[in-house]
Structure formats: structure tokens, C-alpha cells
Symmetry: C2
Subunit: 205 residues, 2 copies
């Protein structure tokens, strides 16, 4: 499930608010975002927005939690024949060689939101839940691979932590520095790490 899927075809008022927040955040980024700019993307009563949320951070924290809830309970993930393919599928989706402009704008906004967590305990609590969820998802894929005997019987925890850290580091670098040339190199080395750590049948590879 991609982020764009989460906000497609809003039905309820809450979904419409979340959709408006998504659109406004991609367009304006965090620093220039205001509740008014979110309201501009919202087809219903503007006062509803002001009534429900104290300020833009209150609305953005609700937006982040909504997204995480959708990832936890929403549209099912694509099915993969093996855990190895599933792990590659996750990396292909999160770290493509090129990022479409919409996803680039959304990633930039997410980096700005993440930086709020450096001084705001509510954002920090959210990103702690976020990281715990995605680390757990990676661990589950590794556990599957071990059960299927395509992965070696490693402790999945440290591998999941390193893969999550690489993913977040790569997203940060891509969004805040020139990384495009190095991205395929980086991706190949991540694959080599996973190969060597998880599924080298011949460990001299």
C-alpha cells in the first residue's frame, strides 16, 4: 500500500480532512503550512477544521496517526511468493532509483515533520511508534523467511534494526542532499548485506 492509496477517494469527513492535509502538506511543506491552507483543500465547512483541531501540529499529529493506522489495518499488502521477494519488494517501493514529484514532495514534508520530533515530545512519541511498527514489519518478514528456510536462522531483531536505519538514512539523504548518483550503489550494497546476512547458502559469497 502506498501513501497515495491511503488518501485516495475519501468518503467520510475525517477522510476528507486527512486528504486535504495530505494535499496541502505536499504543496506547501511543513514550515509554510497553515490550517487555512489545509482548509483551502477541504470541500466542506472550514469551521469544522478549526473546531476539531487546536492548531496545525494537532492536526498534523492526527494525520500522522491516521496514516500509521491505515498501514496497520488498511488495504492488504501485495502478496509475495517468498520472504526474499517480499523484502526486495519493500526496498523497491521505499527506495526506487527515481521518485515521482508527488512522493518527493511528500518525503520532504515528512523529513520536516520528523525534525519537529527533535524538540517536540508529541512528535517524538509518534515517530517512536512509527519506527517500532516498521521495525516489527521487517522482523515479521525475516521470521517468515526463517520459517520458509530461505533465510538463515539469525536473530531477526538486529537485522530489522539495521535495515530500518538504512532506509531512514537513505530517505533523509535523498531528501536533503544530492544522492541520486549514489543511490543505485547504495541499494546494491544493501542487497549484498541482506544476501550475506540472510540467505547466503554459500557463506563465502
Amino acid at each position: 500500500m502506498s501513501v497515495a492509496d491511503v488518501f485516495a477517494e475519501p468518503d467520510t469527513t475525517r477522510e476528507a480532512i486527512m486528504h486535504a492535509t495530505y494535499v496541502a502538506l505536499c504543496e506547501h511543506g511543513y514550515a509554510d503550512l497553515t490550517i487555512q491552507r489545509i482548509a483551502d483543500e477541504f470541500p466542506k465547512s472550514k469551521s469544522l477544521l478549526y473546531h476539531h483541531y487546536d492548531d496545525k501540529d494537532d492536526l498534523l499529529l492526527s494525520f500522522l496517526q491516521y496514516m500509521l493506522d491505515e498501514f496497520q489495518t488498511g488495504v492488504p499488502e501485495p502478496e509475495y511468493a517468498t520472504a526474499r521477494e517480499q523484502l526486495q519488494g519493500v526496498l523497491d517501493h521505499i527506495l526506487p532509483d527515481e521518485l515521482e514529484p508527488d512522493r518527493e514532495a511528500f518525503l520532504a514534508a515528512m523529513i520536516e515533520l520528523r525534525a519537529q520530533a527533535a524538540h517536540d515530545p508529541d512528535y517524538r512519541a509518534y515517530f517512536s511508534r512509527h519506527d517500532a511498527f516498521f521495525c516489527d514489519r521487517l522482523r515479521t518478514i525475516i521470521d517468515r523467511g526463517i520459517a520458509e528456510e530461505v533465510f538463515r536462522p539469525v536473530d531477526p531483531e538486529p537485522v530489522a534494526e539495521v535495515v530500518l536505519t538504512i532506509i531512514e538514512g537513505a530517505m533523509l539523504r535523498r531528501s536533503t542532499a544530492q544522492l541520486d548518483d549514489a543511490l543505485p550503489t547504495l541499494r546494491a550494497e544493501i542487497d549484498a548485506y541482506i544476501d550475506q546476512r540472510l540467505h547466503a547458502k554459500d557463506p563465502t559469497r
Copy 2:
């Protein structure tokens, strides 16, 4: 050389400005920083600050470049007997299990500055130089280890890219989410990656 060393004992006016910026940034973070707050930490004429810098971002970009220049040409690094010890020394310094309050505050401010690069081309250009410099430094250590025959003759580029990405991902996670419990696990797995990739004499390790 640590960041605190860079700003110790300012002699010239420029060094005094950079020291004042460092202190104010650690105390207030990026969002709440103003040129006035930097001036409050500056023992000389305040008007000097306003004269030299257009706004806080102009001053902060000058501050970042000053820091990078110092890392490139300043105080020599500690000497290590082998490249393996040097790489461990870098990781020990950058990813200690616990971070003193000063370094924690500085890291938080650096994450906020880095997030500016998601929408500001000047910050983006700076962090591109920053990443290129630190990637090159890691590559040099790996090259040294290959020359000393303590590392296997790998292509140093992808390994340096992955180590830099893990370091930046770990700094981001530490500053914006609860990571303390996972940090020793993460560090042990980074060491295992380096072991397996660079100096496993017995490649079945």
C-alpha cells in the same frame, strides 16, 4: 576532533561569532533561533553581526561551512594503529551508547538544519558537500585497511555509502524517536556487517 573542540577558545572575531552561534543553537534550536539570540552570546559589537549576515540562515550556512572547513583542515584526528581501530573509533565517537546533554542538543539542532535542506537549495548544497566529505573520509579509512591488508580488497565506495547512511539514519532516529534500547543492538549489527564485509579472514563468520 569533536564539535566542542571546533568552538573552544575563539581568538578572532569570526571564531567568536561561530562560538556564539554554536552556543545559541544548542540552547534554542533552529526554530527559536534569532540573530538577536546569537548576538546575546557574542561579547563584541552586536551591529557587527547584523552587518555581516543578511538573516539567520545566512549566518547558519556560514556556521555550517566553518565547521566543515575545520573538520577538513583543523585539529588532527586521533591516531589509530590500524584502519580497523580507526573505523571503530569513528563509530564509537559518533554513535556512543549515551550522548551527553550538550551533544544531544547540538544533534537536535543539526537535524532541524538538515530538514531545511528538504526545501532550501543552499542548505541542500551544503549537506551534499557534508555527505561527500564524510563519505570520502570513510573511503580513505577503508583504502588504508586494504593497503594494510587487514581489510579484504573490496570496492570501498559502496561500503562507505552504507556506513554513512547507517550513521545518518541512526543519528536521525536517536534524535527524533526512542532509540536508546535498540542502539547497542544496532551498533553490534553494524560491527557484524563491517566484520563480514571487510575483515572476515574466515568468511563463514
